[in-house]
């Protein structure tokens, strides 16, 4: 069975690296990036789920969410946003994200949430 692919977008390389190990260990295929460039490719290269930080280097992650949710080819991809701000939940949901997780993550909760969508 083909592995489910998760794209993680964050500006901290160690957050990307640590999440990649954690998720690959339980059988997901993982791509990491600090921006949304990888989402302009062909449909079969698109991820099954996106983990996206609210605050990227000086850039607003929720703008990316809004854009992805408004485009035909990416609208269907579930987006879980995260932030160090515990009360950013309402904000990210308003931007169109499917779910929110506060940083730092609990492994069990992260995996459970992802499993809800893919």
């Amino acid at each position: 069975m083909q592995k489910k692919k998760i794209l993680i977008i964050d500006d901290d390389p160690d957050i990307l690296f640590s999440l990649q190990i954690l998720l690959e260990d339980v059988g997901y295929a993982v791509e990491t990036s600090d921006n949304d460039d990888g989402l302009r490719g062909p449909h079969d290269a698109l991820p099954h789920l996106i983990l996206l930080d609210l605050l990227l280097s000086g850039r607003d992650g929720s703008e990316i969410t809004r854009q992805l949710k408004s485009q035909e080819q990416t609208r269907h991809i579930p987006i879980i946003m995260f932030s160090a701000h515990p009360s950013a939940g309402k904000l990210v949901l308003a931007a169109g994200a499917d779910d929110f997780l506060p940083k730092p993550f609990e492994r069990a909760e992260l995996l459970a949430r992802i499993a809800c969508y893919i």
Binding site: I15, S18, L22, L55, S83, A84, H85, S87, F105, E106
Partner: protein, 372 residues
């Protein structure tokens, strides 16, 4: 020829007294370094002092009536007018912040306080108010808020990756059955949780100091919040968290922050009663207030320590017992939260027999009307 006798003790001329009083008021009003205004029994303004007129660069005639409102920032206009007219209708004092255009065209933030005034026989006579320029203060608070946001993000970022690495390693060692490494990693994870909580607590303290501790204000069901938090915490402890009494009331305030207080009191109750097996929680409605109590059957607090317990950085440290971990900020933050909600927090305790922490909050008006 008889000289007409001068009246020995001339009764003071009422008009003279009035003139003098008026003069005294004008002098005080025009020299005090605040902006002063008055309105009559309709909401129309009848007076502005020299400081106000100098500030706006307008004349008395331009500002009178509703003229002053022309200088209010368009984004603040609605809110400003609503607060003014609602308070006016209820003859209640008000305090509001809004931007007003200065003589040079720059909008400045004003803190405006108005109080109703009454004639000696109790008739409503209008409002009198004063304002000061708080722009600098507001800008400083704004900068502090932005710093706090960034600091939160910056501090939690390295903690996030370390914690994720730790949990990823735990999974790998678990598959290999390495108990020793699992134990080490579990301690690391617990310490990281503590670090995360400390960061949040320190930032809460910074927020307290800029008065930004409570964010949302809304009416909510307190007993439902208590049930939610008890359910959430029950899964983390073998102590029985018993909700012994409920009171279906609404309170007004920040639900997240009151929740934070409940979590703080409950986790303390659990932590300071390692030998006990339960914590009792009660809600009781009492004359317009609701009292929440959290009782533990643990080590208790010595009488001479009770006053200090809500201070910053206080920590239980009985030399005969283990020092209980923590920065000692939890109760301080909780007491600030309750204070900001116009409530009170206190404790009854006996060393060796446990403690009952209690806080009260005003019941939200509408709810008590429904219950009657």
């Amino acid at each position: 020829m008889p000289i007409p006798a001068k009246k020995a003790t001339a009764s003071p001329d009422p008009e003279e007294i009035l003139r003098e009083s008026e003069q005294r008021f004008r002098l005080m009003s025009d020299t005090a370094p605040v902006m002063i205004w008055m309105s009559g029994t309709t909401t129309l303004c009848t007076y502005f002092n020299k400081v106000w007129l100098d500030f706006t660069g307008r004349t008395m005639e331009q500002e009178l009536g509703n003229g002053w409102a022309e200088g209010v920032h368009p984004d603040d206009f609605e809110r400003c007018l609503t607060i003014y007219t609602t308070s006016f209708d209820q003859r209640k004092p008000f305090s509001m912040e809004y931007r007003i255009r200065r003589y040079d065209g720059v909008y400045r933030w004003i803190l405006d306080n108005g109080v109703p005034r009454f004639t000696p026989n109790g008739a409503f006579a209008g409002y009198i108010g004063s304002g000061i320029d708080i722009t600098e203060l507001k800008e400083a608070n704004q900068r502090k808020d932005e710093f706090i946001s960034m600091a939160s993000h910056e501090l939690k970022t390295p903690v996030t990756s370390i914690k994720t690495f730790t949990q990823a390693l735990s999974y790998r060692f678990q598959k290999q059955g390495d108990e020793e490494c699992l134990r080490i990693l579990s301690r690391m994870d617990a310490q990281l949780d503590k670090l995360t909580k400390l960061i949040s607590d320190l930032l809460d303290i910074a927020k307290i100091q800029t008065g930004k501790l409570t964010l949302r204000e809304e009416a909510f069901a307190l007993d439902e919040l208590v049930v939610e938090i008890v359910d959430m915490l029950q899964g983390t402890t073998r102590h029985q968290l018993l909700l012994e009494q409920r009171a279906p009331v609404l309170v007004f305030g920040d639900q997240d922050r009151i929740g934070q207080v409940l979590i703080n009191l409950l986790t303390n109750a659990i932590m300071y009663s390692p030998q006990a097996d339960k914590v009792a929680i009660c809600l009781e409605k009492e004359q317009g207030n609701v009292v929440v109590s959290v009782q533990d059957f643990g080590i208790g607090i010595a009488e001479d320590q009770i006053e200090k317990i809500f201070e910053q950085f206080y920590q239980a440290a009985d030399p005969l017992e283990k020092t209980y971990p923590g920065l000692g900020i939890g109760l301080y933050i909780s007491s600030e939260i309750i204070k900001q909600h116009h409530g009170r927090i206190w404790v009854q305790s006996k060393k060796g027999a446990g403690s009952t922490f209690m806080f009260c909050l005003p019941v939200y008006e509408e709810s008590s009307r429904d219950l009657d």
